[in-house]
Symmetry: C2
Subunit: 264 residues, 2 copies
DNA sequence: CGGTTCCTTGACGCATATCAATCTGTGTGG
DNA sequence: CCACACAGATTGATATGCGTCAAGGAACCG
């Protein structure tokens, strides 16, 4: 276990900024930079750093003081808690365009969670004090931040509910349904964005149980081929829908939709 | 199951305000109003309503549009999610001086959680639009809000971690330890603030399991008498400590402390 | 005193964790 | 190109811990 502080390759960014600001236009649901003034954006970027973090490196440790808000330019990050016995609970799995530690920098005290890189990742580190200052100046930034944090809160609530009230197969079905809606509701081919072991942990089950849950889904028209989930038809996952997902589902209410949320 | 919309007794508050503002000084850890300007406070209160909500009434339903931030003047509130089968998962249990729905009003869309009154409660309803407006004007208010939401996020993370990695008795021990620290670290008598059934659900277990978990704790020096938890000594709960609680514990590091967080 | 609600205790069954073996795909070196 | 090693995934057998069901007890209230 590495005791020394992490020291990833850090490049400061005189020329990087332009590449980035054009990059931010491409990524789908970037919330942090949405609609902020040119001024704020410039201010944010000039005060930030870009770092490359290699796979499995620990970016934030449990108990660390957190001085940055992390924006994922490219890569995958896992937010988790672990105890002395080595048991781990995954709080979140994040990808390009998402942020992390945005809530932690407002908590005061040390970080209650760890953050590790699932694969080689490129991160933008925005100093916490810059965020705190700019939030007061640019209301849009503050609003974005509140939306991001609130959305993460919502996800945590859903995750908890899933684990407490649903059986493994239902949990997995619910997860795949959310993937479908956010990825592309117009296909029957869904790609698992992370290793199955990781997703299993995120869903609060063991890899073996995850595998068996996948098998159960086959009986309701949800096939599997490696990291691809193939649906028999668009409505195979409707059984796992709840009022949250129904709201986000473009197909909700159309003929064929058999969401249980209707009767909830 | 009551189908009709909730319609609690609503009094508007020309004269109530003064009583309230002196009241807020007494409640222990009020975060929402901490350090906000007189101006903001007045603005907040004159635009808000006080309602009395009787026990078991549903204040916010899953799927409702939420138009208020709720401040608990007095009472107890349960935040939960439930599914069509009637299974319920408790996301939070709140008391005097705490707020709820503060994150929901920034999520956009409908509420992913329900809120019910555990007992007769007096609530301050602050319109969401007022909050959104004042947040931009008074940085202190925005900061308070961010702290509250972030703290709730932290609690959700801890709760999830507990349920996934800990056994029932450990979960309960961890919960009681947190009660001890926040209530009064200088006593060996801790009072359970809610019905055992409710706490059981919050901890993700059945009442029977909760009861058996209490029995297990007796073997490590944690006795029970109705709603009172009596410790053999100040350090009976140290076994359940983690780095989060260690940070908040005034006795951490003193002789007698045997926190596992030291070796984590 | 009888009724209700909440908690506790006991007996039982099942679902998931655990342990162990096999399989698949991938990358590496001869 | 094949042999080998390795990680991740799958499958099977077993065990155990929690949920479930059922009964009894304790406090509260009319």
């Amino acid at each position: 276990m590495p005791k020394k502080a992490l020291s990833p390759q850090i490049k400061s960014l005189p020329d990087y900024i332009r590449g980035l600001s054009s990059l931010t236009d491409n990524i789908k649901p970037i919330s942090l930079f949405d609609g902020v003034s040119e001024d704020t954006l410039k201010n944010l970027l000039t005060n930030s750093m870009v770092t490359i973090t290699e796979q499995d490196r620990e970016i934030v440790r449990q108990g660390d003081e957190v001085n940055y808000l992390y924006f994922i330019i490219e890569g995958s990050i896992r937010i988790l808690r672990s105890n002395p016995d080595g048991d781990e609970a995954t709080n979140n799995l994040l990808q390009d365009g998402e942020t992390f530690m945005e809530a932690v920098i407002f908590m005061g005290g040390m970080s209650p969670v760890r953050a590790t890189a699932i694969k080689n990742s490129k991160l933008l580190l925005i100093p916490a004090r810059v965020i705190r200052r700019l939030v007061l100046q640019d209301g849009q930034l503050g609003h974005n931040l509140l939306r991001i944090i609130s959305t993460h809160q919502k996800e945590a609530w859903q995750q908890l509910d899933s684990i407490v009230t649903k059986k493994p197969a239902e949990r997995l079905g619910y997860y795949v349904l959310k993937l479908l809606i956010e990825q592309s509701p117009d296909t029957v081919d869904i790609e698992l964005p992370f290793k199955k072991t990781l997703i299993a942990n995120y869903l609060g089950m063991k890899p073996e149980t995850f595998s068996r849950a996948l098998n159960k889904l086959k009986t309701v028209g949800v096939g599997v081929d490696h990291e691809h989930i193939i649906l028999r038809d668009f409505f195979s996952l409707c059984h796992f829908c709840d009022s949250d997902t129904a709201f986000a589902c473009p197909r909700h209410g159309t003929s064929g939709c058999s969401s249980r949320a209707c009767h909830g």
